[in-house]
Symmetry: C2
């Protein structure tokens, strides 16, 4: 047996990890815009990257290195270094060369506007402000924010039966372009668990499907989406099941936080799809719902418009039949296998559910055993406002 | 050779067709909410319906009739008769039985809210107001509107070399849920050309791909999308090429009108995709762009954010490479095969293009011969407003 304990901490929770954020003048008003993560000892790396074909330079740079270990991650906000071609790669190489000598095989991660070269001089000046002895997880989490309205951090301590323990800490940024993610979703996770690269990658891939890949703000997938998991083994301890559980808890928390803080979002909605022909069909329906403009605007209007939900299920392309479908808001069933249940009394109850900050919409397709759960938010005026003039 | 002439007319342009709209009290303030189309002689029918699995009752009712001819279409707005199960079919049968005896094999078409039984009594009372000798195309076109801000009508006269001629007239409604279409897209086309059912269906299917199926307002596909083409052969004239050209002109006009009148839309944007690996890839990209929230909000903000366009191309899943891609706003190339061209002078020019009510965004993927053109609009506060409380 083992025990998970949530810590009021973030990216520096695990032994041997240091991090901080500084201001390099990329954001206005001296806001923090660059962060580092440093480990005294080198780390195994597991990673998940965007499926966008216009892969940003930092990801192409990372992938070109092949198999390697690192002890240093440099992160900047405000500029994604995407659509910058070979020059974008050269810029990264030049920047990384100027890092403190402690940085071994350093990697870079960027988020912000697409299609503009990195402000190299400012970034190099910024790296000179780094103090590798700093443990300022909150400061690092703030530096990687773009349109996020709050920073996203979490950590867990895992204690095994014999009293030995390891930690996992994380920080993320989200806001827009989350499909799993964009504009950009970045997540950094550090651990002192003694885990092998292969094991860590397998656990990370599996957890990603149910967490970041189940979260949608606007259905757009970024050029820069990145999840990096660094393990320095300093605790000397590992327990696969416990590690997997803690990691998934962390990723689920961050995925939900990203949706909750989706651009202009006022509600976090969990779409629980069951009874689909298979899990793939359920996943298609769950994502169609969390991405539907008509569903998202109905959520914003707190309008229990179950007809739009039914229509979106039908439009998703999977096998579906109105005579088998059931729809619920939390525990309130509003449509059951072809029977119209909705009257003014039920509408009043359903409206109450829709006024909650967080609730679930369940669709049982009534056809099989397939299931999937996704997370989405509403779409209101604020989303339009943020995105109508993000770049300028 | 032949000549096409656009007429200031609509659904009654062709010989032998009658239509009108009446108020049955479905909409507020005595607005017109029911229409009929009647032909003195029976018509061959070609049709295209929604791919939504939650097919509305009128479409299931139509399909259940198998092969048939008709001379009467009854249309109501405000209620979609969707998600109403077998009762929805019974309601249609009961309503159609009360039509004037001239109606042979009548069909029904509905648009409006999903998941509420038809107000049968009101509709039956409404049919009693029909005068089958009326030719009021504009009145009919107004009666089928839901959130449309203007009615959509067009007609063409086709004159052949020998002086003989035929007409095609049409009306449509759109507004929201257009992917091809919803909330709902309905289109009715009448002609006195002497065309066979099979020929007409083939021409309609082909034109649909490049017109209604290339138009997007919000990426949601309705339960009720319907295109009906009725031919009564009264002119005794036909010319396949001329008919196909005139029909496609009509459908293209209506598709663009629907997008231009998309809920809250202020701009009509044509996405011209070329150089994709094949036409299927080009279509995927064109539709991804016209449906992307980030692109649509950038359009609304008149922000020439070509980076979001590149990112959406990359996220669409098709083969793409930033070193081969080129992007233009009208004739202004802003990104060319990996070269960043964008500076403040160009930004100023690009912003001018974005301020137009109608312009094109071209993406040459630089990989092959695949091409497709789609139509989309921007997304602003008004879309949110309309859809946050459409039902209530």
């Amino acid at each position: 047996m083992y025990k998970l304990k949530k810590l009021e901490s973030g990216i520096c929770a695990a032994d041997g990890f240091y991090a901080d954020g500084v201001s390099a003048g990329l954001k206005a008003e001296n806001a923090k815009d660059m962060a580092f993560i440093y480990s005294a000892s080198e780390c195994e790396i597991a990673s998940v990257f965007t499926t966008n074909k216009m892969t940003a330079a930092p990801i192409r740079h990372f992938k070109a290195k092949g198999e390697f270990k690192t002890n240093f991650v440099l992160i900047n906000s405000k500029n994604a270094n995407a659509m910058t071609g070979p020059a974008g790669i050269v810029d990264i190489d030049e920047i990384l060369l100027t890092l403190p000598k402690e940085a071994q095989n350093p990697v870079m991660s960027s988020t912000g506007v697409i299609g503009v070269r990195l402000p190299k001089v400012k970034i190099i000046e910024g790296t000179k402000l780094f103090d590798l002895e700093k443990r300022e997880p909150h400061s690092a989490a703030q530096a990687i924010m773009t349109t996020d309205s709050f920073s996203k951090e979490i950590a867990f301590e895992v204690t095994l039966e014999d009293g030995s323990s390891f930690c996992i800490g994380a920080m993320a940024k989200g806001a827009g372009m989350i499909n799993p993610a964009m504009a950009t979703m970045l997540c950094f996770i550090t651990t002192d668990a003694k885990v092998t690269k292969d094991e860590m990658q397998e656990i990370l891939d599996s957890a990603t499907l149910r967490t970041f890949n189940a979260a949608s703000v606007d259905g757009d997938t970024s050029t820069n989406d990145t999840v990096l998991l660094l393990a320095n083994a300093e605790s000397g301890v590992f327990h696969k099941e416990a590690f997997a559980e803690a990691l998934e808890e962390i990723m689920l928390f961050l995925a939900k936080e990203m949706v909750r803080d989706g651009e202009g979002a006022t509600k976090l909605v969990t779409y629980k799809i069951t009874g689909a022909k298979d899990d793939t069909d359920a996943e298609i329906v769950a994502k169609a719902l969390s991405n539907s403009l008509l569903v998202k605007t109905a959520l914003y209007g707190e309008d229990p418009n179950w007809g739009r939900i039914a229509s979106t299920v039908g439009a998703s392309g999977v096998e579906a039949d109105e005579a088998c479908l059931s729809i619920s808001f939390n525990d309130l069933c509003v449509y059951k296998r072809g029977t119209l249940l909705f009257d003014s009394a039920m509408e009043e109850k359903a409206s109450k559910v829709m006024q909650l900050e967080s609730f679930s919409i369940s669709c049982d397709l009534g056809l099989g055993e397939g299931k999937f759960t996704s997370f989405g938010c509403d779409l209101g005026y604020e989303y339009v406002k943020i995105n109508a003039d993000y770049r300028t």
